[in-house]
């Protein structure tokens, strides 16, 4: 299937609100605008869809951003770069310019500073090809994010792919909405799924999911196994995707990591995966050469993600620059410790960090959310300490445990790990 030729092939797909309201793409109201570059400040996904449909029809340059992200500094920057602001407090560009036909801009998550703009097109964002069985997808992501565009372009470009739109601020009750709207496919971060399994397990079991997708954070075997236990007949997949390198790895076999033999494999139109020595802290880093790169990127791109070879698989474990904890000169990966803790049957979620300490400089500290029925406290702490000692070097064993009752979830559906 030619991706570029089919960007509006889903025009008759349904767009379903959390309240059950139903529309089709082709019925969306026209958005009055010329062909000037536009930054559309939107309240939610439903608000954003009219802009996406308009772009699909006229190809005018567009950036979609959630209103809450559009602060005065970003407004000024966008106007200076030739964008008109639409959707709230409308404003003309301070330096007008001609738009670039077909151009879409995404903002990176900005967790390490000011958001950066990455250029794409509907074609470069539409990374799912081929015939898919009809599905009703949940879209829980924030408008304008890469993950959001992945789900939206699926609904726009492939017939039979309906969307159920959820406000990311209201994911707490999503499973009930998804059951009512008969959602058959859902994509979310491991933290999103962990939180759902912990706090909405009864409602989740009622959702007729045939496709469960994870991405946006390292995906470990424990969460895949938990989801397969709830949905034994569903396809449980994980995806590695980012606004910089596009959707580059898709794994459907229900296992963490991807087969080692995928490294260096060259296939037309597909990304090439490689590993190189990590820039910091030893180990190896994932490198991707992708046909779905954002503009301005080409050739091999260092992803900044640390990988580990284990039993013929390449596991993506965490970030190269923030993952390492130095305990008295001995180094340990926070991601490796987190993975061990999250594999414990009484743990729903764990976060691992360095804590300043006398003599050794730092020790490993773990924040843990127990699974339903388990209780945080000295008994669980002793169990986890013993569990970690059996699986980690002495300096990697958490020396302090903090317990909380809820899994923290940001609007990006990630936690701060």
């Amino acid at each position: 299937m030619s991706r570029a030729a089919t960007t509006t092939a889903g025009a008759d797909n349904l767009l379903i609100g959390a309240d059950g309201s139903t529309r089709r793409w082709r019925d969306l109201p026209p958005v009055v605008r010329g062909d000037e570059p536009t930054a559309a400040a939107v309240a939610d996904s439903e608000d954003a869809l009219a802009w996406v449909w308009q772009h699909a029809l006229n190809r005018a340059e567009l950036l979609v951003v959630g209103r809450e992200r559009l602060d005065p500094g970003m407004r000024a920057e966008l106007r200076a770069d030739g964008f008109a602001i639409r959707g709230e407090e409308e404003a003309s560009p301070t330096r007008p310019r001609d738009g670039e036909s077909g151009r879409l801009w995404l903002l990176t998550s900005g967790s390490t500073g000011r958001p950066k703009r990455i250029g794409h097109t509907l074609a470069s964002l539409s990374t799912v090809a081929g015939d898919l069985p009809p599905r009703r997808w949940l879209c829980p992501y924030s408008p304008g994010s890469y993950a959001w565009w992945q789900v939206i372009t699926l609904g726009l470009s492939l017939p039979g792919q309906d969307l159920v739109l959820l406000d990311p601020a209201r994911v707490d009750g999503w499973a009930q909405v998804a059951a009512e709207q008969e959602v058959t496919a859902a994509s979310g971060t491991p933290t999103f799924w962990r939180q759902t399994l912990m706090s909405q397990s009864d409602a989740l079991a009622q959702v007729p999911l045939q496709q469960v997708t994870l991405g946006g954070e390292p995906v470990d075997q424990a969460i895949l196994d938990q989801l397969l236990a709830v949905f034994p007949t569903a396809r449980v997949s994980w995806i590695y995707a980012s606004s910089e390198v596009g959707a580059s790895i898709v794994v459907h076999d229900g296992r963490a990591g991807f087969p080692e033999e995928w490294l260096g494999r060259v296939r037309p139109g597909r990304p090439v995966l490689d590993v190189v020595p990590a820039a910091e802290g030893g180990g190896e880093e994932l490198v991707i050469t992708s046909p779905h790169h954002g503009t301005g990127l080409s050739g091999p791109v260092r992803t900044g993600d640390r990988v580990e070879r284990r039993a013929g698989r390449i596991l993506i474990t965490g970030r190269v620059d923030t993952d390492e904890i130095n305990v008295g000169g001995s180094k340990v990966s926070a991601a490796a410790v987190r993975e061990v803790l999250q594999a414990h049957p009484d743990v729903a979620w764990a976060q691992v960090s360095a804590r300043r300490a006398p003599l050794v400089g730092a020790v490993v500290q773990a924040t843990v959310v127990p699974r339903s029925g388990a209780e945080g406290g000295p008994v669980l702490e002793q169990h986890l300490s013993s569990w970690a000692r059996d699986r980690l070097p002495a300096h990697g064993v958490p020396r302090r445990f903090l317990f909380r009752t809820e899994i923290p979830l940001k609007e990006s559906l990630k936690s701060d790990v």
Partner: protein, 74 residues
């Protein structure tokens, strides 16, 4: 100290000989001392200032307890 050791399946000697027990013999290592200091910090709700105590030899259980008492008072 007993809690730190117990988490590793070790035991703190009790009775009159407890304070004079050698750290090396009971398996209490630098990481254990670090953990103990953090437990005390969490308990008293303040960060301990180890520089204030100056350098000294810490070889017995009594040495550790004396140091921690001194740090809380400094």
């Amino acid at each position: 100290m007993a809690q730190v050791l117990a988490a590793q399946g070790k035991r703190l000697p009790g009775g009159e000989t407890g304070d004079s027990a050698e750290l090396a013999e009971i398996g209490f290592r630098s990481l254990d001392f670090s953990e103990l200091a953090l437990r005390v910090e969490d308990e008293v709700g303040m960060e301990l200032n180890f520089e204030a105590a100056g350098l000294r030899a810490i070889t017995t259980v009594g040495d550790v307890l004396d140091l921690l008492v001194e740090l809380q008072q400094s």
